[in-house]
């Protein structure tokens, strides 16, 4: 059929496909709702949800200055200054717009469906990005991949209302804009990049990835002798505007000028200015003078820079790396120095299985794509290469950073895949003699302006930048340019004698196999998504003997009991994992929560849990705790309970109170971690142990078995004197204990309990 018709068909087809992809991306994230209900998942989302509610109810300024006295009792928390407000503001805006048009959608539903909606946008921006790199067909593939890749779904299913949900879209789109800016060299795109960078900064701590990757790209281009006014304009615009904007977020504040994470960007900015200046000077002086000037200038700048930086960093104006980032570089660091970071499961390194689980066949097509990027080595491909290398390193160090890797994997896998398809589908007749280099040639002929425009603009820029002057370095640059040109020639000549795939059978086999792999990929993604990534960890589902699904809803049972039947300002102590959920669902005051900003406070809670009743009662009274909440999986075999997390509590506590808590005392002489009768006395006396197993033995008439640790418990359970059981949920999953008040008759609580048990015969004194 004629070119026009193809192009028109394509013009109709592409939006349709994109819309379909978006729909697939959204709907494949709804398993959790179909399985369970429309509810906020896990831990952090509950905080975001709570703050969003506050924002919607009390307006932006109140939210901005919100001092939350219900968390980190008695310290409280300045919420406005310690959050990335992006996601809350986003959903609040959506909510208000809908209400303005008389669509009274509940804010909960906005929050629940936010991540899926944005995943659609992410797919679209993946399309745009890849289109810049190869062509629109590759773009469509990339969109499809990113739409369903489990590595991204894992953090963006309906209900997981977390920063990553929108951040990944912003990441990809910012990169797209950056590439666009570098290609066109327009301040307009530079500005857009800066704006979306700002949005990203407001949304996720991962913005540092952009802050370092973009300068790195610019720097690499400099090294490759690819300095151009396009680069200068785009980067300068991006950096200047972006940094200023990012400093408007209170949580970021002046970091861009202080912390080491942001130094690279600043440095490259300076470097570019110098380089540009040098270029300018070069035009106005004789090469000889320029040489001397260059020498002097470079050495001077180098000296100043080195001295200045060292001074600053020693004087502490420039902060050292923060723990989390430090743990990225020195991988052993966290384990020893920051147990809190080490204790978080998503900060663990990534085993190969996770890579395959999250990306299936993309993971090995990804390097092929990188290879192709090397074959074309345009500015944007350099970017993708850098992105791939660094993202794969970070993903290896921390599981959660799979998230930043996934987009680039999808993009470059898509490039590889579509190149394969191009090679084996292209019509043999008009293929002869053409080559893949100007991709737009083999590209379906709805030629997109930018890629067409590129080579010409290159052509115009290169001589312009290296043409002036005739001395050595001029030659050098010229030589470089020549090298590039010659390589290009070489490639074109090499690629000129390039043959189609002659035999239909080989074509058929390749295409069929690839298609089949696509199917497998789709199945895999669906399987993984529905199986592993769609349970809202606050409701557990278990299968009964008859195969029917049983819902275990103990968390909400306990939280709702707290919400309805404790006094308004009740203070509930628990391990920090449940802080956000309690604030959100139980609406009580918590001591510590998932925003682990104060190690000492957390250690104090750990100490209260790990020490004997006498000691911890002091702590409890001092923090006027009313209730203590723990998780206990021993009855139904829920392995994520507090006894299993206990070691972390002990470690963190020991870090701050080394004399009161000693990890070794919780291990038997044989170095085992036991809870049955061979448990160490320290273990048996610890508050956590007592609370967990309080009256547990009675449940099975003396011979109880802890189903998590497979331990037979002693028939004589622990006694509690300073606490009393307040509520225990249906499956014993959550146990809440009330802290007793001081005894009315001024006895020690131990005597009191003994007396009540009728142990000691004292005369009641009036």
């Amino acid at each position: 059929m004629s070119v026009e018709t193809t192009s028109t068909v394509a013009r109709v087809l592409k939006p349709t496909i994109l819309i379909l992809i978006a729909l697939v991306a959204i709907s494949s994230r709804l398993f959790s709702i179909i399985r369970f209900e429309s509810v906020i998942h896990e831990f952090d989302p509950w905080f975001n949800y709570r703050t969003t509610q506050h924002l919607v109810k009390n307006g932006f300024y109140d939210f901005w200055n919100w001092f939350d006295e219900k968390s980190w009792y008695p310290l409280g928390r300045v919420v406005g200054g310690t959050v990335y407000p992006g996601i809350m503001v986003t959903s609040a805006v959506i909510h208000n717009v809908l209400h303005f048009f008389n669509f009274p959608v509940d804010i909960r539903n906005v929050c629940v469906f936010l991540a899926p909606m944005f995943s659609g946008l992410t797919a679209f921006s993946a399309y745009l990005l890849t289109k810049e790199l190869k062509d629109s067909s590759a773009g469509l593939l990339a969109a499809a991949f990113l739409g369903v890749a489990p590595g991204y779904i894992s953090r963006s299913v309906a209900g997981s209302y977390d920063n990553e949900g929108i951040a990944i879209f912003l990441l990809v789109f910012t990169f797209y804009l950056w590439i666009k800016a570098v290609k066109t060299g327009s301040a307009y795109f530079g500005l857009l990049t800066a704006l979306f960078y700002f949005y990203m900064v407001s949304a996720w701590g991962g913005y540092v990835f952009i802050t370092n990757l973009v300068p790195l790209h610019a720097f690499t281009l400099l090294l490759m002798g690819r300095y151009s006014n396009r680069l200068y304009v785009s980067y300068s615009t991006f950096y200047a505007v972006g940094t200023l904007l990012s400093m408007q977020i209170p949580f970021v504040g002046f970091q861009p000028t202080r912390t080491s994470e942001h130094m690279a960007a600043l440095g490259v900015f300076g470097l570019l200015q110098l380089y540009a200046f040098a270029e300018l000077v070069r035009g106005h002086v004789t090469p000889k003078q320029f040489k001397t000037l260059l020498r002097a200038g470079v050495s001077a700048v180098a000296v100043i820079a080195v001295v200045g930086l060292t001074l600053l960093s020693f004087s502490g104006v420039i902060a050292p790396f923060t723990g989390r980032f430090y743990s990225l570089y020195d991988t052993g660091y966290a384990k020893i120095h920051i147990p809190i970071i080490a204790s978080v499961s998503e900060h663990q390194p990534t085993a190969w299985t996770s890579f395959f689980f999250d990306l299936q066949m993309l993971i090995f097509l990804f390097p092929a794509g990188v290879y192709l990027c090397f074959k074309e080595l345009k500015d944007e491909h350099v970017f993708i290469i850098l992105y791939s290398v660094f993202a794969s390193y970070f993903a290896g160090v921390m599981v959660r950073l799979m998230l930043t890797l996934t987009p680039v994997v999808c993009v470059s896998a898509a490039i590889a895949y579509s190149t394969l398809l191009d090679t084996y589908l292209e019509k043999s007749d008009h293929v002869l003699g053409t080559n893949l280099k100007p991709l737009t040639a083999t590209n379906d002929s709805n030629g997109d302006a930018s890629t067409d425009a590129k080579p010409t603009s290159n052509g115009t820029k290169k001589p312009h930048s290296s043409g002036k002057g005739n001395a050595k370095e001029a030659k050098a640059t010229a030589a470089k340019a020549d090298a590039v040109e010659s390589k290009a020639q070489a490639k074109s000549t090499a690629a000129a004698k390039r043959y189609p795939v002659f035999n239909w059978d080989s074509r058929a086999m390749v295409i069929l196999q690839l298609t089949w792999f696509l199917f497998m990929f789709a199945w895999h993604c669906t399987y993984v998504t529905s199986g592993s990534y769609s349970s809202p960890s606050i409701v557990l589902a278990s299968r009964q003997q008859d195969g029917s699904q049983m819902i275990i809803d103990d968390f909400r049972e306990a939280y709702y009991w707290l919400r309805k039947n404790t006094k308004e300002d009740a203070k509930v102590m628990s391990w920090w994992d449940y802080g956000y959920q309690m604030a959100g669902m139980a609406n009580v005051t918590t001591l510590v929560d998932n925003n682990t900003w104060n190690n000492t406070h957390i250690a104090t809670v750990g100490k209260a849990m790990a020490t004997s009743e006498e000691v911890s009662y002091e702590v409890l009274r001092r923090h006027d705790v009313d209730y203590v909440l723990i998780l206990f999986g021993g009855v139904i075999g829920y392995s994520g309970d507090d006894i299993n997390k206990f070691l972390w509590m002990i470690r963190i506590a020991e870090g701050v109170y080394p004399n009161e808590v000693k990890e070794t005392n919780f291990f038997t002489p044989r170095g085992e971690y036991k809870v049955d009768q061979d448990a160490t006395p320290t273990m048996k006396n610890s508050l956590m142990y007592k609370m967990s197993y309080y009256r547990f033995a009675e449940l099975y008439g003396g011979n109880a078995v802890d189903h998590v640790r497979q331990a037979r418990m002693p028939s004589e359970g622990p006694k509690l004197s300073v606490l009393e059981e307040a509520y225990t949920t249906e499956n014993w999953l959550v146990r809440i204990f009330k802290v007793k008040d001081l005894d009315v008759l001024g006895r020690s609580l131990f005597d009191a309990t003994d007396f009540d048990k009728g142990k000691i015969r004292k005369t009641k004194k009036f």
Partner: protein, 340 residues
């Protein structure tokens, strides 16, 4: 010769003297022995003996069962650090060997101190003191126990290798926290190493300078860079960092004696395992690249067909191997390609 011996004699005598001098202060400080003069004398002798032993062997007293009992026996006005270890090769206890020099480091650091504050370093090898191991319920070596002067034998304070690691510095800190000493660890400078480094760097710089003209080409050659970066990527996506951080064994003996290279558990892997995965990835990726960039360069149709088929079979085969591999790790996984 004789002079030497005399000097040694002198020194020994001097040390005894010092020890004797040290006793009264120690007694007064401890104040438990002062009750019974008999114990006092006994204690004095013991302390003298210990100090002698210690200073004889770079501040470390090597014990056997009887010696251990003797050291531990009351009265005791000094605190003791005991390293339970198994140096001798038949146990091939690698961590023991690793930790031994570090321990020595700390001990020597202690012996440099002016105020030794009644602390003694001692080593009990498994061969020398088996029964002590049993008595103390030691079933793992190395392990370090600290016995404070006042406390009895039963209260053990164990150094946690798992958390603090085998380095000398954390161990020294741990000890300082307990014994109230201020032991500093000075590692002896390995001049050889330093020299090698210096020379190496110089050499590198020189070669770079030499090759500077060509260096441009080398650094500029995108083939090198692509090789490097793709290598990095393969290493990373096959879970190398996991090995770096968790450092698992390279292989582990499987059921039937032969070294098993697949670790149990989804979030667990062996060194070899990840390397195998990396190779698989490389093979599949390679065949894809062949399909993309080699095939169109082949002029001869039959040849081309051959290559295409070969590459595609490669692709399919290793992909199914990979999936199978994954299925072993994750038994629930429903999909397979070639191998059921």
């Amino acid at each position: 010769m004789r002079g030497l011996s005399r000097t040694t004699l002198f020194s020994v005598a001097a040390m005894l003297g010092l020890a004797l001098l040290a006793i009264p202060s120690s007694i007064s400080s401890s104040g438990l022995a002062s009750a019974q003069p008999a114990g006092e004398a006994l204690l004095a002798k013991k302390v003298a003996r210990l100090s002698a032993k210690a200073s004889a062997n770079k501040g470390i007293i090597s014990l056997d069962s009887s010696a251990f009992e003797d050291v531990m026996s009351k009265p005791r006005n000094y605190s003791v650090v005991v390293l339970f270890t198994a140096i001798s090769p038949e146990f091939n206890c690698v961590p023991c060997l690793n930790f031994d020099p570090e321990y020595k480091l700390v001990a020597s650091g202690w012996s440099k101190l002016a105020d030794k504050s009644q602390l003694y370093f001692s080593v009990l090898d498994f061969k020398a003191g088996q029964e002590i191991f049993q008595k103390m319920g030691m079933n793992s070596a190395p392990s370090v126990l600290y016995f404070p002067a006042t406390a009895s034998q039963s209260t053990q304070d164990r150094y946690d290798f798992g958390r603090l690691g085998f380095q000398a510095e954390p161990f020294a800190n741990w000890l300082n926290a307990r014994a109230g000493t201020s032991i500093k660890v000075q590692r002896p400078i390995d001049y050889m190493d330093v020299c090698i480094k210096i020379i190496g760097t110089i050499a590198c710089l020189f070669t770079v300078y030499q090759l500077f003209t060509k260096a441009g080409k080398i650094l500029g050659s995108k083939y090198i860079w692509s090789a490097v970066s793709m290598f990095t990527i393969f290493i990373m996506i096959s879970g190398h960092m996991w090995n770096q951080i968790r450092n698992p064994p390279y292989t582990a003996p499987g059921r039937d004696g032969r070294p098993g290279f697949i670790a149990q558990g989804f979030q667990n892997q062996f060194g070899l395992e990840s390397q195998i995965v990396a190779v698989l990835y490389a093979l599949i990726c390679g065949s894809a690249i062949v399909l993309i960039s080699v095939v169109p360069k082949i002029e001869n149709p039959t040849q081309q067909r051959l290559v295409v088929w070969a590459a595609m079979c490669f692709f399919g085969f290793f992909f199914s191997v990979l999936i199978k591999f994954f299925q072993v790790k994750n038994p629930g996984y429903p999909f397979t390609l070639l191998f059921k």
